[in-house]
Symmetry: none
C-alpha cells in the first residue's frame, strides 16, 4: 500500500492539538456515524456508537481529564461495518506491497512463537509483505515456521555483546532497521521481545525512529513492559496503539495513574489513562475489548471463544496493524478535510478485535478444548470473507 | 531430461546473428503459428499471435532498434496451446532427471522463502530434481521447509569471509557449483540472493560459468539488481531470461535506456531494451506479463488473482525454468532445421506465466484475501492437469 502523505503522517503536532478541539470532535462523530450507517440510535446502549465526550477547545488537561472521568460512556462499535468500510477493494491493477507492508519487532532466544503469530496473521488478513526483526537465535526458528515471512536476524541480547561493543552494535542495529522503516505501513513492537536490557534499549531507538518517520506503531507484550517504564516513547504520539491484557493494563494504570484498576469506573479510568499518556490509542483487552483514543470509548464484545490459549494477543496485534494501515489509507483516500478525519487507530482496533473474535469462534467450533492459536489463524481468512467478501 | 546438443547450446554467436535475419524470422513466425494451431487470424488483436517486426538482413543495430520502436505490436499468446505442446508426455521408460533438473542460486542470511518457493515450484510443475545453492545460514532453514529439495550450503557473505581469504573462497565456491552445473537443464539466479557484494561477485562467476556451459538462466529478484549493474553478464546471451516486476523494470530501463518507463510506448520500449541488451528475453511482469525476445512481443493476460502477496515472482521463476527446459527439448526433439527453431525462452515464459495465473486464480477462489504463496503452489499441479492432463 502506498504510504499516505496527508496530515496523518506529517503533522503529528497538529494532530495532537486537533484531537483535543471540540468542534473537530463533533464533526468526527458525525463522520463516524456516517461510516457506520446501520447504527441504531444512541439511546440504545447495546447498539449505539462511540462515546460522547465534551472537551471544549482551550480546556486545561486536568479539567479535560476530570470531565472525561465523568462522561466516558462506552458504546458498542458496529465493528462489521468498520471492517467493510476500511478493507480495500482488491484492485487488479495494484502491485506487490500496495495492500500493506507490516513489520514485527520481536523474537529473542526465549520466544519465537509470538512474533511468528503476529507476522503471519498480518499476511492472512491481507497484507502483501510481512517482516520480522528479531535476534539471530530466534530468526532461524521463525524462518522455519513459514517461508512466507521475511525475517531479519539483527537484534542482539546482552549475553552476546561485550560491554565495550554496546554503542557500536546498538548503532548498527538502528541503521539496519532504519533502512527498511520507510517501507512499512505499520509496525508491531513487542511480541516475544523478552526483557533483556540491551535489546530493549535498541528497541527504544527503533521506536523513536518509527515515530520520527510517522509509522503507526502497535505496542503489545514486552513492548508494553518497555513503554510502561519509559512513557516518553509513546507520549503524545497519536499513531501509537497500546493493546494491554488485564495484567499489562494493571501495570500501566499503576505506573501512570498511581492507583489500582477500578472496575466501577473502568471507562473513565481508561479515558484518564489516555489523557495522561496523551494522544495514544489504548485497546484494553478482556471479555470485551475496550478502545479509547482519549476522545471516544468504544467496545467490541462479540463473543469469540472460551479458550484462552496463549498467542491470541499476537494475532490481534498483527491484525490491528493491517487494519490500521488500511483505515489510514481509506480515510486519506476519501479526500476529507484534515479536521474531518476519523482516527484510523480506533478503526484498526475495532476491526482487528472483531476479526480475532470471529476466527476464534470458528476455530473453537471445530477444535473445542484443543483449539490452539494456529487453528485460529487458519480461520482469519474465512472470518474476513464472511464479513467482507473479496468480490464485493 | 537429457540436455539438447543442437544449435541452441553450441552456437550462441550464430544464434545472435541468426535472429536478426529476416528470412529466418519469417520462417520462425510460420513455425510459431504451427505451434499454436488454434490461433485466430492476425487481424484479431485479442487472439492473434506474436508481433510482426520487419528486420531485414544487414540492417544496422540502431536502425533495427528504431524500426522496432515503430512496429512492436503486442499479441496475446495462445498460452494453453503452448503449455500443451511443450509439456513432455510422461513416458514410463524414462529415468529420474529426464523431466528436468533445475537449480536455484539464492538464499542468504536474510532471505530463505524466495529460493524455497522457486525450487519447490519447479518440482510441483514437474521437474524431477530441484537444487538450491545458498549460504550456510539459509541452508538449514531451506532444508527444513521441505525434504524434497537438494540444498547446497556453499555461498558465503562478506561478514563470514576475511579479506585475505576472499579470492580462495570465491574460487572454491565456483569449483563447487561448477561440478554440478552441467547436470542442470536450467538455473534460476536471484530469488532471495540479497545484495552482499562478495556474494554477488561469486554469483557473477557462476553466471559466467553457466553461460559458457550454455545453461538457460532465469534472472529474477536480486539477480536483476546484479545484472542491472553489470549488464555484461547477460548481454548477447539468448539463453538469458529476465523477469522484472514493475520496480525492477523501471531500474533496468533507467540504466540501459537512460530514460523513464513510458506507458504510451511500452512495447516499443521493451523491444528497444531487448535490442540494447542484445539477445536476451525479457518478461515484464504486471497486469499482463509482456514477453519480448527482441523479435516478438507477446503477452499473457489471463486473469490470475488480485492478491499481490510477496513470493509469486518466485513461483514464476521456478516454473519458467522448467518450461524453458521442456520447450528447448521439444523444439530440438522435433528435428527441425536449426533456422526454423522457435525461441524456447519465449515459450517457457508464456507457459510459466499462464500456469502461475491459473494456480493463483484457483488459490484465490479457495482462500480469498488470506491467500499466500504456499496456497498458490498447492494449485500448480491441478492447473497444469486442467490444461494438459497427464494421461493424454
Amino acid at each position: 500500500m502506498s504510504r499516505p502523505t496527508g496530515a496523518w503522517r506529517h503533522q503529528p503536532q497538529h494532530r495532537g492539538r486537533m484531537w483535543a478541539a471540540s468542534p473537530f470532535f463533533r464533526r468526527q462523530l458525525v463522520l463516524l456515524r456516517s461510516l457506520l450507517p446501520q447504527s441504531p440510535p444512541p439511546s440504545s446502549v447495546a447498539g449505539c456508537r462511540f462515546a460522547h465526550l465534551s472537551s471544549p477547545s482551550g480546556t486545561s488537561g486536568s479539567l479535560r481529564a476530570a470531565r472525561a472521568m465523568a462522561a466516558a460512556t462506552v458504546y458498542e462499535a458496529d465493528a462489521e461495518a468498520v471492517v467493510r468500510r476500511i478493507t480495500p477493494p482488491l484492485d487488479r491493477a495494484r502491485h506487490k506491497g500496495q495492500a500493506g507492508k507490516i513489520a514485527v519487532i520481536g523474537g529473542c532466544r526465549e520466544y519465537t512463537g509470538a512474533p511468528y503469530f503476529a507476522a503471519i496473521s498480518a499476511l492472512k488478513v491481507g497484507a502483501d509483505l510481512s517482516h520480522v526483526f528479531c535476534t539471530k537465535d530466534a530468526a532461524t526458528v521463525i524462518k522455519s515456521y513459514s517461508p512466507e515471512l521475511i525475517v531479519h536476524p539483527i537484534l542482539e541480547e546482552s549475553y552476546s555483546v561485550r560491554d565495550d561493543e554496546r554503542a557500536s552494535v546498538s548503532s548498527k542495529i538502528l541503521t539496519e532497521v532504519a533502512k527498511w522503516m520507510e517501507r512499512f505501513d505499520c509496525i508491531v513492537v513487542g511480541p516475544g521481545l523478552g526483557r533483556d536490557s540491551f535489546l530493549l534499549d535498541c528497541v527504544s531507538n527503533i521506536m523513536k525512529h518509527a515515530r520520527q518517520a510517522n509509522i503507526p506503531t502497535v505496542v503489545d507484550g514486552d513492548g508494553l513492559f518497555l513503554i510502561t517504564n519509559n512513557l516518553g516513547l509513546v507520549e503524545g504520539n497519536p499513531l501509537a496503539i497500546l493493546t494491554p491484557n488485564v495484567y499489562e493494563y494493571k501495570r500501566l494504570v499503576q505506573k501512570v495513574l498511581n492507583c489500582d484498576v477500578n472496575e466501577e469506573t473502568a471507562s473513565e479510568q481508561l479515558m484518564e489513562l489516555c489523557h495522561k499518556i496523551g494522544g495514544v490509542t489504548i485497546m484494553q483487552k478482556g471479555k470485551a475489548d475496550v478502545i479509547c483514543d482519549g476522545k471516544t470509548v468504544t467496545q467490541v464484545s462479540t463473543f469469540g471463544s472460551p479458550r484462552r490459549c496463549g498467542g491470541q494477543g499476537d494475532i490481534l496485534s498483527g491484525s490491528v496493524a493491517v487494519f490500521t494501515s488500511w483505515a489510514q489509507h481509506f480515510i486519506l483516500s476519501n479526500e476529507q478535510p484534515t479536521e474531518k478525519r476519523v482516527n484510523p487507530t480506533t478503526l484498526g482496533c475495532i476491526a482487528g478485535s472483531l476479526l480475532l473474535r470471529k476466527a476464534a469462534s470458528l476455530a473453537f467450533e471445530k477444535n473445542k478444548r484443543s483449539t490452539v492459536t494456529t487453528d485460529i489463524i487458519e480461520f482469519l481468512g474465512k472470518s474476513l470473507e464472511d464479513i467482507c467478501p473479496a468480490e464485493h
